[in-house]
């Protein structure tokens, strides 16, 4: 368990520091698309946390950090849910009997 806590701490440190030092330059693919001139064929998509920002937080860094941690939480929550579904919630599991 201690190992997992260390990894979770590492994830939080990376997510938060990445939020404040992220480069605003386009990524490799976008840059190539801009340079060659087919970037306009991309269709803008939007979602709850478009561009890694929380819509209701004004500060750019904090907004990204919160969005990033929310994403990490989503992933961890999903897998922990899967684990629970197959152990505690499964009546046939030896751990339950």
């Amino acid at each position: 368990m201690k190992v997992y806590l260390k990894v979770i701490l590492l994830i939080i440190v990376i997510a938060v520091s990445a939020s404040f030092f992220a480069s605003s330059h386009p990524d490799g693919l976008e840059w190539v698309a801009e340079k060659l001139g087919f970037i306009e064929t991309a269709k803008e998509s939007s979602s709850i946390m478009t561009d890694y920002t929380m819509p209701f937080i004004q500060h750019a860094g904090i907004s990204t950090a919160v969005a990033g941690l929310a994403g990490v939480g989503l992933i961890l929550g999903l897998l922990w849910g899967v684990k629970l579904f197959f152990t505690k919630l499964n009546p046939n599991h030896p751990a339950r009997i």
Binding site: H25, G68, L79
Partner: protein
């Protein structure tokens, strides 16, 4: 390297979605077999009956190690998601970020690692509008299947060749980025969005540099994970 909607023709996107679904089904099946075992309790409960009926009725349940595997897949996916947010600037106005395919498969193994990266790509597409939904299959093929599953076998081959963990991990990470960039270029070229002869060299030139960073970050994170005993030499799935 997340392709937005519009770059790739819908027909090619559909084909890639099927390819991604097939690859993920294969990986899910592999992981499922590794993390489950017939329920011992059930087999014991019916000890008086015929052995054949016991074994046929015994349902598979998650093992103790299996539980750890699922937790590890979750933590790796979380780590890669966070690390992908780290956009590092590269010369001439572009930036790069980790893909994490090599890292995931080296830590978890080919099937489990591929699932971890696919999970990251799916969450990014659904909740962060990073990578189009229509081309989600293509992004999974590029980053999880080519950048992960295929990269694992490149890593194994490189490890035999170089006999060095660090060198083979770094080289595999670089290869994963170059291969993913090649696949992305081919998909865009086949869609008629732009000529492959122009996209491919431009993509490879940019990603040759991004790949070096991928190699460094992969080795650095592997070092940290090894230090906290998250990464070990257990059998990979």
């Amino acid at each position: 390297m997340h392709i937005p909607n519009g770059f790739v023709d819908p027909k090619i996107s559909t084909g890639l979605a099927f390819a991604a679904a097939g690859a993920l089904a294969y990986c899910l099946n592999k992981v499922k077999q590794a993390v489950t075992a017939p329920a011992l309790q059930q087999a014991l409960a019916g000890a008086g009956e015929k052995v054949t009926t016991i074994t046929s009725k015994a349902r598979k349940v998650l093992t103790q190690n299996g539980r750890q595997t699922i937790e590890k897949i979750g933590l790796m996916a979380g780590l890669i998601f966070a690390a992908q947010m780290f956009n590092f600037p590269i010369a001439s106005g572009t930036s790069g970020h980790l893909i994490g395919g090599a890292l995931a498969v080296i830590v978890l193994g080919p099937a489990a690692g591929t699932l971890a990266v696919a999970l990251v790509v799916i969450i990014q597409s659904l909740f962060f509008a990073d990578g189009g939904i229509l081309i989600l299959g293509g992004n999974i093929v590029n980053m999880a299947v080519i950048g992960g599953l295929l990269t694992y076998y490149i890593y194994v081959w490189l490890k035999k060749l170089t006999k060095s963990f660090v060198v083979s991990a770094a080289l595999a990470a670089w290869c994963s980025v170059m291969l993913a960039a090649t696949a992305t270029s081919v998909e865009i070229g086949l869609s008629g969005t732009f000529a492959l002869s122009a996209v491919l060299p431009a993509m490879l030139k940019t990603h040759a540099v991004i790949g070096v960073a991928e190699g460094f970050i992969t080795v650095a994170l592997l070092g940290i994970l090894r230090n906290v005993k998250f990464y070990n030499n257990e059998e990979k799935i």
